[in-house]
Symmetry: C3
Subunit: 433 residues, 3 copies
Amino acid sequence: MHDLGCIVLCAGQGTRMKTKRPKVLHEAAGKALYAWSLDWALALKANPIQAVLGYEKEQVREGIENHYGKQVQTVVQDKQRGTGHAVQVAFENLAPCKRVLVLYGDTPLLTLDTLKALCLLQENTKSEISMLTAYVKNPFGYGRIVRDNNIKEIIEERNASAEQKEITEINPGIYVFDYEFLKAGLANLKPNEVTKELYLTDLIAQAQKPIGSIEVSDKEIVGVNDMVQLAKADRLLRRRINEEWMREGVEMLDYKTTYIDSEVKLSPGVVLEQGVILRGACEIGPGVRIGAYSVLQDAKVGENSIVGPFARLRPGAVLESDCKIGNFVEVKKSHFGKGSKASHLAYIGDAEIGEACNIGAGTITCNYDGQKKHKTKIDNGVFMGSNATLVAPLHLGDSSYVGAGSVINQDVPAKALGLGRARQENKKDWVKK
Amino acid sequence: MHDLGCIVLCAGQGTRMKTKRPKVLHEAAGKALYAWSLDWALALKANPIQAVLGYEKEQVREGIENHYGKQVQTVVQDKQRGTGHAVQVAFENLAPCKRVLVLYGDTPLLTLDTLKALCLLQENTKSEISMLTAYVKNPFGYGRIVRDNNIKEIIEERNASAEQKEITEINPGIYVFDYEFLKAGLANLKPNEVTKELYLTDLIAQAQKPIGSIEVSDKEIVGVNDMVQLAKADRLLRRRINEEWMREGVEMLDYKTTYIDSEVKLSPGVVLEQGVILRGACEIGPGVRIGAYSVLQDAKVGENSIVGPFARLRPGAVLESDCKIGNFVEVKKSHFGKGSKASHLAYIGDAEIGEACNIGAGTITCNYDGQKKHKTKIDNGVFMGSNATLVAPLHLGDSSYVGAGSVINQDVPAKALGLGRARQENKKDWVKK
Amino acid sequence: MHDLGCIVLCAGQGTRMKTKRPKVLHEAAGKALYAWSLDWALALKANPIQAVLGYEKEQVREGIENHYGKQVQTVVQDKQRGTGHAVQVAFENLAPCKRVLVLYGDTPLLTLDTLKALCLLQENTKSEISMLTAYVKNPFGYGRIVRDNNIKEIIEERNASAEQKEITEINPGIYVFDYEFLKAGLANLKPNEVTKELYLTDLIAQAQKPIGSIEVSDKEIVGVNDMVQLAKADRLLRRRINEEWMREGVEMLDYKTTYIDSEVKLSPGVVLEQGVILRGACEIGPGVRIGAYSVLQDAKVGENSIVGPFARLRPGAVLESDCKIGNFVEVKKSHFGKGSKASHLAYIGDAEIGEACNIGAGTITCNYDGQKKHKTKIDNGVFMGSNATLVAPLHLGDSSYVGAGSVINQDVPAKALGLGRARQENKKDWVKK
């Protein structure tokens, strides 16, 4: 029997986002909202993990399946009949386990440490319910925690007395349940008289033993319900990511305008200048400097390379060590061998470039002929004059040389000079005429 | 008889700005400081609206007339003899009305809602004076509000007792006056003994009836007197603008580095990446994504188009739907038909581009011959190879094709290939020599 | 005899930075950490100034000697035996003076005003020790100041009673000593029993006369021990620099994303748009506007010039007045005469450009042939068509003209037209085939 099962509620629409996308597909720090919870569940070795889908279920399922494959199962809550109902739907498909963690698809600010502590608390105390609580400045709308030292009950806003409304310790709704308690409890849930929905919170009234609780910072429990909250969650997450990397020896010239997605891998001694954006699964080697206002996505940059300012590395850009990609240069699906450079104003796409090449300013690989994409292969030690136009498919041999301003549409053999430009003529006194 | 008249004081020099420009011509969130007040006056349907000019009056008048035409009248206060004198000068030209709102040309942080409430208060209470007040942390320099529940008097800093200096409710100087009260009051104003100036605040002592007041946040009443205050006002205004758009479904990857001028129009589902600057009267359609560090001014971007990162759209850039303007591309006074693209490193100026065109990387429209600007006309479905140089005036026919690296200075007929480049030759073993 | 001597402790490794560079070589606001203290010492006319080196001493010495020459002497503390030992090492080489200021190589947030006040206090009171103190929120780890009005003693964390641990006035370790007191005191220092190190703080117990003290803001005394602290110090310093320039009449469209190194010189009426980075010893003349996301290093920009957005001026870029450098333009080691322009997508390196020249979009100076850098000389009034490739060495005469798309590798005489491009041909109905 597995130890921990996990149910992640992802069925809500998120109407206050005011976009067509389901809420849980919006991203914070480059990761879909639902994926924060699923990643924690995986890190906690939860098995099975059930994601409950509802609004735009096909779109959400596709996102989950693409990323998690069979690690995460999805179930559908056809009608939105409350959190208790959502957990019922998932529970039916949940193989028996010792305890069940309930998470949401819109709370990216929680931390793995918090969830570990919560699971451990339930494990150690054998409580029926272990839950998070938080003190918040403005408790309006939250369920208030009523205590006589232990948690006595949760009072919802609508049922709270004036005195109870003053309570600032609230229920964020994150629980670890004893499996058997949850099973029995879900079976006993009654619909709310007014809304006819089933509420997970009502399980608390069913507990016979003391409820375990861990108090967390109010910053961890903020959900995302509109674009303002999403924007603020994003900043908090990025702040955490940046501080972690700085403590690992990454230097940021302005940590408030440095944007590092959660999957990015950096190394000590990396310097990130102002405004650098690292998206997706970038890997940046030791001693690399990324200049101001560079945007990298799913790119690899080898040791001691220099990138930017104003560089754009798109997916599939791979730089070996000691490379240089300078300002106003775009690289897409291309490999730069050790020590190769493209320092100024260039577009390099679908190219395989050897070692110690110099790609001149203004060089453009014409990889698209209107029908198909073609490849450019450049061997080692090639020197390319400025403003070269390279019409792919094309092969430039070892140590070949391309004259400045040339259009090159035939292969250039090793050590040869490829020239494709007109001879200059001067027209005297032309300006007078 | 009109209901509401409005006087906006714009005569001050703003010496602490330390620039040659008059203070009220500096901008916050892309709008001249004086224009914030004039726009509120218009929104309140004030008529007439009098702007009082003084320092660099010609420059300020030109700014107002260009933007507002006859909606706003200007009067000149020849010598700076105090706020009371400024209002006297304007009042002489003010057609009779029921009440008069007095505003300033340097308080952009007020809100229309506040001013609406103030006008309504005066209308409902028939007070001689209705005014704003605010509690501030550091009241030094402000007139303090002395109350016995109602406002009793305003004590200026220089006249305040030690006890009165502790008062933190202050007078921001924003009033709605009963017209007749103001008329009589202005006639009775006496010059200050020391400065010989006339102060508007002295009208308060003339009031016979209770003075109406509305307390507003201290953030609303901050004036702009130096560049630091201007910078802070700008950030607060942009923050408000951004939060409003986010609540309408606009996604911002970093709302703290997204700069949207007050006249910009966005749509739900728009995504603005980090560092996007939208100036002037930009209009951005639904589903558009603007990439990081793009700068747009007075540009229109149609539905589902993708712009940037590092794109610059200058005034007159118009993209229909499904267009793409990529990195390091500048577009000026040009129209892109549906589905047309310029994805990399290009300058497109004074061009009319049809639908489904592909503008290659490095393409440049040579619209200027040193004497005049010329136009480039590109029909539908044109494919342009990279590094093309298009010498205007020029016409490329439907579905024509331009070879990479070509200089094109003659029209290309429909379905023809235009080529303007030298044939390549390879010089063997050239590198050895 | 000199008045003031200064000892700056720069020997630490800074292991928590987690980089190979010694801590004091990291930069805040573009200036090496140690240089902040050395610059204050120079401004206070301290002489001699001794920098105590230890970790990576050669690297640090090189940095100091390159910048300060003989103004600063360096001594080496071979083993890290505590602050008292470091000062002993320096003191041996210190010529007699009246008083000695002790500073650190990692406290860039102090201010010259504070240090001036501290020196003056010691001078006026003839105290044996005058020192800074600060109240901090979290005093953990700091020596606490125990007072009976005067400073009685400093209690280190490890020796503090529970009551003393509550004290929030702490010792930042910045002192001015009477020279003779310091001499005798250093001779009497005893190693700590546990660590065997000598501590400078132990001198306080040797004082016979009242100790002078000045309380400073807790923001001034923060040291830099890891990348997070470095990043925060950098922001605070840049904030101070920006506010100073704004008060001098420099307009910043977003002062939170404007980065001005400490040596930069600006003028009133300069406008810096969002995201501008000014590094090193830039000098920007009156009325200049620097567009968004421009990066300048060691560049000079003359009166009323316009730069950017997205411009990069590298070291040696000099613009006279009324120049324009536009978007996606890089300038390196080049001089632009009055009124010359390069408005779009260009690389200008090692060029001397006269007055009133127009450098077309896409122009590239080919200054590097794979072996050496060559110069481009452009006289006055030259007009260059777009996408020109200029192969240096090259000379373009007065009022000459270069055809768009030309490769120019021979000099063009004055008033001549240089053309280097193929004639266009159109292939009819090519697209059908």
